[in-house]
Amino acid sequence: MKLKYIFCAACLATAMVFTSCEKDEIDRSTSVIIDSDHVENDFDRWLYHELVLPYNIEVKYRYEDIESDMDYQLVPADYQKSVQLTHLMKYLCLEAYDEITGSKDFMRSYFPKMIVMTGSAAWQNNGSRVLGQAEGGRKITLFEVNEMDPTNIALLTEQYFHTIHHEFAHILHQTIPYDPSFDQISGSMYRGDNCFDYYSNSDALAQQDGFITAYAATEGAEDFVEIISMYVTNTPEYWENVMATAGDGADIIERKFDIVFDYMNDTWNINLNTLRDIVQRRSVEAEDLDVDDLTVPSDEKPEEIPLS
């Protein structure tokens, strides 16, 4: 019997070997990827000079369905608004970190590599909207760019730069984890996706329970990055006011902040107080920024930083 099986297997193998086909040669001379043949415009040149070469960051301001979110009905971003928001993002986020770290290396290494501008908000059928979202530390999508007012820095900070600082902080703690004892402070108080309903979308209510925002009550990691983002994008007076009005929550926020502060200081050599001063100073200066300027110095060779 055994011999029979071996014989059968051998026959099968033989049959399979003989069944090989003649195949056409693969055409390796032609790429199946079709390059976009956009005509380079002033913004493209500025982006290459100001963001691609120094930071290796791509800003996608032209709508691409594969980069957009299929869950929503969206429209493209306005060209001029994209120019303005990119200027402000560079000045208030990228260069704030450049200033505290002393070079562009830090942002070049860690900042998400793709910023996608989308014109409309991502409206949901319950009347709420998404203004920004991040995917895996590689891509940040900014929505409702067409409605943005480049002179209203406070609103822009609330809408966009808060999200950018938030997402960037995620990348930092995903690169080097924070002290796990942070997650124990609020422990079972985290409420997952229910956080907004639980606190009726009110940061003030969440602060009473020791969360700096309602969203911070989602989970430990969100809590951690919300503290960083809220701390640097708001004034010292705002923070003191939160501490004064948070009741029992103030002590909890304080304990969490100590861990956050030490983590940023010890792990990344970033003093959050200094970073906040820089961001706040730049928020004032940004009002005088020429956010439409797309001149690229022709005689100056762009700074090209080799990959480390």
Partner: protein, 417 residues
């Protein structure tokens, strides 16, 4: 070979037969690979789009129900990647400039990839309308004609076909012609005719879609020479989709199939519509002694009853509050309404004015009658009868001659004060 051995040989034989493949030499249908063909198509469409002196017009259909009908868009594509877009909701000379690309997708895809107030008007979502109004801004370029003046496109989300035609005049001239065409076709009740066959169509004011009695929707756009339906319309399988005005502008005639014509439905239907919009048909003459006497008496009686409000218009209309056709006498801003019956005969394009069986019970009318303006009854009596009509154009009925027994009354469409 005994039976046992046969099993051993049969198995590999079966395997060989079943698993064997394949010396296939498929005949190449295309000369080049899909990638190269797509790349070539993109370049071809780019050059066709850019090489139009005045740009392109697109028949744009924003949603899948088609109840809004179509909209005219114009686009002037430039080599540098910019496109100037106009649409019929804006002033004829207004455009908005943004960028476009032709990308490889499910074929060459024309995409308007930076925001354009006009191009994205029907796509822009809001809190109240989180899916926008269903408008596309990405179009699969499916094919073009050899002359390069027509491109068949498919909206990527709506899956609506939205054809593009090469403009032969500046966009602003085209919009002016479109506006003129729209003004010409001011009749919500039309009839498609093929021989003796008729298909009545209705549309709401301002909407560019006709609806049949069976609730079939025929969306269309206005063109510089007439109207263009999204799909063929006709009777008994004889159809056309592109219609131009006849030389005297009294009807629309199929371009490919001139047997299919579209004209305004019976005047009586239009009279109802005009009344709802605040118009009346004012008599400009009184071509019989009976009519003239009734009119003169009315003027006389009114000058006694209401010396400060002389009669300035007499004619027909439809009154929405009374829900009936009326004889209407205007004195100053006052209206005397006298209800009349009006029945429409589609078969021979006539209508009949008759005495209203039920009393109108109209305070306004009674008041006038009691005040002594009784000659309106004489006028009504003189008008009762069957009328044929003639008009410069059935498409709008701005002016009409109605005839009864050789007596022709000329009527002009005017606003009710």
């Amino acid at each position: 070979m005994n039976r046992k051995n046969m099993k051993y040989w049969a198995l590999p034989l079966v395997c060989l037969v079943m698993l064997q493949s394949c010396f296939k030499e498929d005949e190449e249908y295309w000369d080049e690979s899909a990638t190269i063909r797509l790349e070539n198509a993109i370049q071809d469409y780019r050059s066709v789009l850019v090489n139009s002196e005045y740009g392109w017009v697109m028949d744009f259909y924003p949603d899948q129900t088609f109840t809004e009908g179509g909209y005219v868009y114009t686009m002037k594509f430039e080599e540098d990647g910019n496109v100037a877009v106009g649409y019929e909701l804006a002033a004829p000379t207004d455009t908005r400039t943004s960028m476009y690309s032709i990308e490889g997708g499910e074929g060459p895809v024309l995409t308007f990839d930076t925001y354009n107030e006009y191009m994205h008007h029907f796509a822009n979502p809001s809190q109240q309308n989180y899916e926008g109004r269903g408008g596309d801004y990405e179009f699969v370029l499916q094919r073009r004609n050899d002359a390069g003046d027509y491109i068949k496109t498919l909206g990527r989300k709506s899956k609506n076909h939205m054809p593009m035609y090469k403009l032969t005049m500046p966009a602003s001239d085209y919009y002016a012609a479109v506006d003129a065409a729209e003004a010409m076709v001011d009749n919500p009740n039309m009839i498609v005719k093929v021989g003796d066959g008729m298909l009545p169509l209705e549309k709401e004011s301002g909407v560019k879609a006709f609806v049949t009695e069976d609730e079939m929707v025929y969306p269309f756009v206005y063109t510089d020479q007439g109207i263009r339906f999204r799909e063929g319309v006709g009777v008994g399988g004889v159809k056309d989709s592109v219609f131009v005005f006849s030389s005297n502008h009294d009807q629309l005639v199929g371009v490919n199939c001139p047997d299919v014509t579209i004209m305004g439905d019976n005047f009586g239907f239009y009279l109802q519509y005009a009344g709802q919009l605040g118009y009346m048909y004012s008599f400009t003459n009184y071509p019989s002694s009976e009519l003239q006497a009734a009119y003169d008496n009315m003027v006389q009686q009114c000058s006694v009853a209401y010396p400060n409000h002389p009669i300035n218009k007499v004619g027909f209309s439809f009154d929405t509050s009374l829900n009936t056709y009326v004889l209407l006498v205007q004195s100053g801003t006052r209206s005397l309404l006298y209800g009349i019956g009006l029945t429409i005969n589609r078969d021979n394009n006539t209508f009949t004015i008759s005495k209203l069986e039920t009393s109108l019970n109209n305070d306004n009318c009674n008041r006038y009658m009691e005040a002594g303006v009784a000659a309106i009854e004489d006028l009504a009596n003189a008008l009762y009868g069957e009328y044929a009509y003639s008009t410069p154009s059935t498409l709008n009925y701005n002016e009409i001659d109605i005839q009864k027994g050789g007596i022709a009354l000329n009527c002009q469409k005017v606003s009710i004060n």
